[in-house]
C-alpha cells in the first residue's frame, strides 16, 4: 500500500481526495474486495451501496487505515488528510457525559493535557449544530438512540475531518429519526462554515443513497467489486418522488438485480 500526497492542502479545492486502484483486501484466504477502482473527488457525497456483507464496510475501514490492503493502491489526496469515522453503533463511553464524549478526540490528540476553553466552546458549538445543546451533561444511557447517534456524529465532527466516513450511520434507528438525521447530515455537509466537504457513506437503502448522494457506487456481492457508478444530478433538497430521483432508483434496482 502506498499513501501518496497528491497535492498540498489549500492548493486545491477540487480534485481527487481518495484514489483507489486495483485494490484487493483479504481476510486470511477469503477475498473480501478485489479489483476495486474508485476515485472520490473533494466535495462529493458518495454512497456505497450493495447487499449486506458484500465488503462495503471493509472498503470504508481500509480508507480509514483500519485494514491493510493485500494489493493495489489506496492513495489519499493529502498525506495529512483528517478522517472522521462514524460507526453503526454510537460507541459512546458510558461513563462520560455528552460533552466529555465529544471531547475525547481532542484529549487523545493532546496526549497528556486537558481540553481547554477553545475546545469546550467548539464542542458546544458542534452540539448546538446537531441539536444536543440541552443534553450537554447527560450520560449516554439517558439519551435516546437517535440522540446517542447525534453525539457520535458530533464526536466525529470534533476532529475537524476533511472527509467523513459513515458506516450505516443511522441504520439502527427507526425510519423517522433516520430521515431527520439524514437531512441534518446534508445540512452540515452543505454548511460552508465547516471544513467538511466530502462524505462517503455505506448504506443498503436505495432511497437513502439516491436522495443524499452525488454518486452512488453499486457493489457486487462477496467479493466486493465495483459494478456501476450512478450519478444523481437532481437538485437539492431532494424528495424520493422527484422524477430524476425515481429514475435513478429504478436504474440502481435494475443493476442490483443483475441486469445492467
Amino acid at each position: 500500500m502506498s499513501v501518496v500526497a497528491l497535492a498540498a492542502r489549500g492548493e486545491m479545492q477540487s480534485g481527487p481526495l481518495v484514489v483507489i486502484e486495483d485494490l484487493e483486501i483479504r481476510f486470511d484466504k477469503v477475498v473480501a474486495i478485489e479489483k476495486m477502482n474508485l476515485t472520490v473527488q473533494r466535495g462529493e457525497f458518495v454512497s456505497l451501496l450493495g447487499p449486506s456483507g458484500c465488503g462495503k464496510s471493509t472498503l470504508l475501514k481500509a480508507i480509514a487505515g483500519l485494514i491493510r490492503p493485500a494489493g493495489g493502491r489506496l492513495a489519499r489526496g493529502d498525506a495529512n488528510l483528517r478522517i472522521g469515522f462514524m460507526f453503526q453503533k454510537p460507541l459512546l463511553l458510558p461513563w462520560r457525559t455528552t460533552l466529555d464524549n465529544i471531547l475525547l478526540p481532542v484529549e487523545i490528540k493532546l496526549g497528556g493535557s486537558v481540553a481547554d476553553r477553545t475546545d469546550h466552546a467548539k464542542a458546544r458549538h458542534i452540539l448546538d449544530m446537531v441539536g444536543l445543546s440541552n443534553f450537554v451533561d447527560a450520560y449516554p444511557h439517558q439519551l435516546s438512540g437517535g440522540m446517542q447517534q447525534r453525539t457520535a456524529l458530533a464526536r466525529a465532527l470534533m476532529s475537524d475531518p476533511d472527509i467523513l466516513l459513515l458506516d450505516e450511520p443511522f441504520g439502527a434507528l427507526d425510519e423517522l429519526t433516520r430521515e431527520t438525521l439524514n437531512e441534518e447530515l446534508i445540512g452540515i455537509w452543505q454548511n460552508s462554515a465547516t471544513r467538511l466537504h466530502t462524505i462517503m457513506m455505506v448504506t443498503h437503502s436505495i432511497v437513502e443513497a439516491v436522495t443524499m448522494s452525488d454518486r452512488v457506487i453499486v457493489l457486487t456481492d462477496r467479493p466486493a467489486r465495483f459494478v456501476e457508478d450512478v450519478r444523481v444530478r437532481s437538485p437539492r433538497p431532494r424528495s424520493p418522488e422527484d422524477a430524476e430521483t425515481l429514475s435513478a432508483m429504478k436504474l440502481i434496482r435494475r443493476i442490483l438485480r443483475g441486469g445492467r
Binding site: K89, L91, I108, K109, P140
Partner: protein, 247 residues
C-alpha cells in the same frame, strides 16, 4: 428502605424465638445447642477484639491482593508473553487448597499477622486477576477501532477505554474475594495464632464452649457480610452507568 427489610427481619426474629423456645422446652444441653440468649451473653470484649483482628488481617490481605492482581492483570494484557508464561503458575496457586499451604505460611512467617495476611492474599488474588484480565479485554472490537481512528496510543486506549470498561468486572471479583479474604484469615488462625476469630473458634471448640463458638461463627459471618457490603456500596458509586450501557 425500612420496608424492604421488614419481612426478612420479621422472619429472622421468628426463627430466633422458635429456637429459644425449642431449647428451653426440650432441655438440650448447652454444649450441643445453646439458646440465642446464651450466645448473646458471650458477646463481649474478647469477641470484639477477635473480630477486629480477623477483620483487619482479612482487609489488609484483600486490599494488597486486589492491588497486586490489578497490576498483574494490566501487565498480562499489555504483554501477552507474560500472560502465557505466568498464567499456569497463577492457576497452580489457585488450585492448591489454602488449608494445605497455611501450615507452611506459619512456619515461614510465624504466628503473627503476616501468615494470615498472606493466606488472605493467596485466596483473593486469583479471582481478581482472572476477572480483571477478562474485563480489560472485554471492550468491543469496534470501540478499539474507534480509538484507532482517533489515533490513540496503547496507553491512551488503556486509560480511557479498557480500564473504565473493566471496572464492572473488577468489582464483581472484589465482591467474591472479599468473603474469601475472611476465610483465608481464619484458616491462617486455625493453624497457629494467639488471637482472632479462628483462634477463638479453635479454643472454644476444644473446651466445648459451644455458645462462644456460635458467637464466633456469627462474628465471622458479620465480618464477611460487612466487607461485602462496603465493596457493594463503593461499586454503586463508581459504576453509576452500569446496567444503562448503550449497547
Amino acid at each position: 428502605m425500612m420496608l424492604r427489610f421488614r419481612t426478612p427481619i420479621l422472619f429472622a426474629l421468628a426463627t430466633l424465638a422458635a429456637w429459644q423456645g425449642l431449647v428451653m422446652a426440650s432441655g438440650i444441653p448447652e454444649y450441643l445447642l445453646p439458646a440465642p440468649t446464651a450466645i448473646l451473653a458471650e458477646v463481649d470484649r474478647t469477641l470484639a477484639v477477635s473480630l477486629g483482628v480477623t477483620f483487619l488481617e482479612a482487609t489488609i490481605g484483600f486490599a494488597l491482593a486486589s492491588a497486586l492482581a490489578f497490576v498483574v492483570a494490566v501487565l498480562f494484557v499489555r504483554f501477552h508473553t507474560l500472560e502465557e508464561g505466568l498464567f499456569p503458575i497463577a492457576i497452580a496457586i489457585k488450585t492448591t487448597p489454602i488449608v494445605a499451604i497455611a501450615p507452611l505460611l506459619v512456619i515461614w512467617l510465624g504466628t503473627g499477622w503476616w501468615s494470615k495476611i498472606v493466606a488472605a492474599i493467596l485466596i483473593c488474588f486469583f479471582p481478581v486477576l482472572v476477572n480483571t484480565v477478562k474485563g480489560l479485554k472485554a471492550a468491543d472490537a469496534e470501540y478499539r477501532e474507534l480509538f484507532q481512528t482517533l489515533g490513540a496510543s496503547g496507553a491512551q486506549e488503556f486509560r480511557k477505554l479498557r480500564i473504565p470498561y473493566c471496572l464492572p468486572y473488577l468489582f464483581s471479583a472484589l465482591k467474591i474475594s472479599s468473603s474469601l479474604a475472611i476465610v483465608g484469615a481464619i484458616v491462617g488462625e486455625f493453624v497457629g495464632a494467639t488471637q482472632g476469630l479462628g483462634y477463638l473458634i479453635m479454643v472454644s471448640s476444644a473446651h466445648l464452649e459451644t455458645a462462644t463458638l456460635f458467637a464466633a461463627i456469627g462474628a465471622a459471618a458479620l465480618a464477611g457480610i460487612t466487607l461485602f457490603y462496603i465493596i457493594g456500596a463503593i461499586e454503586h458509586r463508581v459504576i453509576f452507568w452500569h446496567g444503562g450501557e448503550t449497547e
